[in-house]
Assembly symmetry: C2
Homo-oligomer: 256 residues x 2
Amino acid sequence: MSDAPLTDRGQVAERAASSAAFSPLYQQIKGLLLQSLDRGDWKPGEAIPSELELAARFQVSQGTVRKAIDELAAENLLLRRQGKGTFVATHHEAKVRFRFLRLTSDDGKQAVSGSQILGCQRVKAPADIAALLELRSPDMAVNIRRLLSFDQVPTILDDIWLPAAVFRGLTAETLASYKGPLYAWFESEFGVSMVRADEKIRAVNAGAEAAQLLQVEPGNALLQVERVSYTYGDRPMEVRRGLYVTERFHYRNSLN
Amino acid sequence: MSDAPLTDRGQVAERAASSAAFSPLYQQIKGLLLQSLDRGDWKPGEAIPSELELAARFQVSQGTVRKAIDELAAENLLLRRQGKGTFVATHHEAKVRFRFLRLTSDDGKQAVSGSQILGCQRVKAPADIAALLELRSPDMAVNIRRLLSFDQVPTILDDIWLPAAVFRGLTAETLASYKGPLYAWFESEFGVSMVRADEKIRAVNAGAEAAQLLQVEPGNALLQVERVSYTYGDRPMEVRRGLYVTERFHYRNSLN
DNA sequence: CAGTGGTCTAGACCACGTG
DNA sequence: ACGTGGTCTAGACCACTGC
């Protein structure tokens, strides 16, 4: 079977080694690559095997592998670099950060100047959080509250929920000792790669506590962003509720 | 030159008929297709010539045309339909609307129930609007104000600015007589296809006038969305400032 | 049935990065 | 010089649409 002439192979399916569904060959290859990414065969930042090697491994042409990789690159799971290879996307890069941090200074230039941890504890997941994280009701969750400042000005108040079963060893101490983007930390410390997120945005009036922490008047309009982040395979791994001060900052978006 | 054997053609450039820069052949083809779209050679909703015909016309292989079309389809300028052909994207479709209307009911189901025109006049473009529309300061602009309702509830207050030179014949009357999405009307009536938009989002407290029109308390938090929409060639064609009531609706976004 | 886009292959050559 | 991804071609066949 696997030695049949290539030109009149007739049906496409069942060439690739393992499982995978029907559909185009390159989709099956894409599925296999996704499995490898999910399993951690190749770590974030590392190069995956070359197109020719993958083609040999899967017994398909380079063009077919190429199309599979093209799609994964378009989804920002892989990163192609001509002459060097194809790499697993990582949050340990400036570029990637701005895909997930959409709040921008009105005058263009800024950077996070500080992150203050307000709290970090393991609690039984509330019903709404459990539903979003696809947990069973009695499961535990890690709840982090923090305050981000831009140019020393408190700007983002985050309330973050994570499945405790996955984020073992996450404590206030280990968290406080880490500097840099949370998602980069999740990646290297817990093997969780955030790949995609959905956000729901509203405007709300600041309550007493938020107003105090963000140093605005109670009742001031704040941007509320509820985010659910997903790893490979669309598995939700984080729920984040943020309150943004949008006096000198705005949430930028592009509609294509 | 144009009859040289294809296999050792050596350099890529200068094969396609007219101008276009260097770079890959398929990028040049893409440029030519964009010109045709911009010129209106093919109208929104119409089919463009088949891949084979375009390949013959440009003296390249079908694969090269294919790659050019792939990119245009990825940018939502073209729409491929297997077995039928490739079509110019149009706002006269349900799908496309939701690319630009990101406000969604919390319970998923809703539709615009009404659009009330509050004003429509030609005025000298204010400096900030002129800058965004890339007009010279003395140029005229059309200013439309309208109120959109969802399920009979006033929800969006829009302040829209258009370059008057392009939107000739746009009056309160012609505007009022049209039902349906504005962008669909712009397309068929003024030959302006909106292809892309950038948005800046903030939370603001409702002023007296907005509060009255949107039937909320003054000071209530509203979502403010400032949008600049572009046609082919990244030419800005609309500035829109919207105030959204986000009590039972939210702005949805996906981060990839 | 003919025509369209969709998939797959094989092979040549280019452009880039590194040793 | 070599290996990587990037471009281009040519040709076969599949899948869908509509006459």
